[in-house]
Symmetry: C2
């Protein structure tokens, strides 16, 4: 999810209408590497469009998911879904203390990964998450 104009063109081609709300959500997501949850996006959006509804955020996120423009990230220590506008294959680091998610490049071997077969499964996606403590939180936890 790099270019808003291309994104809009693709969305329209698929029959989606482009509303000001959606346009604004696109802007929030483009080049966003904070892996926000729906509510994070809603909070930013509310400052710009005070009457916007949280349902619209979910609606738009689901639309972008269908278009393959964003990925959903599930975490076992966090009960809301986090969204990632970088759909190129990569792994994630999750800090169990501050809940931050950081991208990590995949091993070269896996970069070309698109579809593969394992144990008879037809694989469409691989998700790799490292759980641990980020540099800042390591320090904090060391002191306490």
């Amino acid at each position: 999810m790099q270019n808003i104009d291309e994104l809009i063109e693709e969305a329209q081609k698929q029959g989606y209408k482009i509303t000001p709300q959606r346009r604004e959500i696109f802007k929030i997501l483009v080049n966003n590497d904070s892996h926000p949850k729906a509510e994070d996006i809603y909070n930013i959006l509310k400052d710009r469009m005070p009457d916007v509804s949280l349902a619209t955020v979910y609606n738009t996120l689901n639309m972008l998911k269908e278009l393959g423009m964003i990925d959903a990230i599930a975490l076992f220590e966090d009960d809301s879904v986090r969204y990632d506008p970088t759909t190129k294959a990569h792994d994630h680091l999750y800090c169990l203390h501050c809940n931050r998610i950081v991208d990590v490049e995949k091993d070269q071997d896996d970069l070309g990964f698109t579809e593969k077969e394992i144990s008879g499964f037809q694989i469409v996606k691989r998700q790799v998450t490292y759980y641990g403590y980020c540099p800042e939180c390591r320090d904090i936890l060391k002191t306490t």
Copy 2:
């Protein structure tokens, strides 16, 4: 989570009391590779102990998680947590059609993985999930 007697001993050592409900949940989980959700366990349990409460299942699962006897698996296409009594490092295959989870051995390189540092993160756990379609569902989807 192989041996119930060892598990009980360890739980008691940590100050947990062993109730018939817990004993029965342990039995359900030992050598169980179906990656059940809390409600799956509750349904099996109810047949053996009709008055048991779902809260007890959650309570016991949380206890086992604290003891490191089971792992929780988060999936972005499934909204309940799945539990895995095999805590030895391994990956998962998840079928997007029937929601089955199948274990896959890890690459030899990763077998020794316990703790590692990436981008300054202190890693305590790695979770790898392949999303796709199991052999049975591939066939079903082919026909439709």
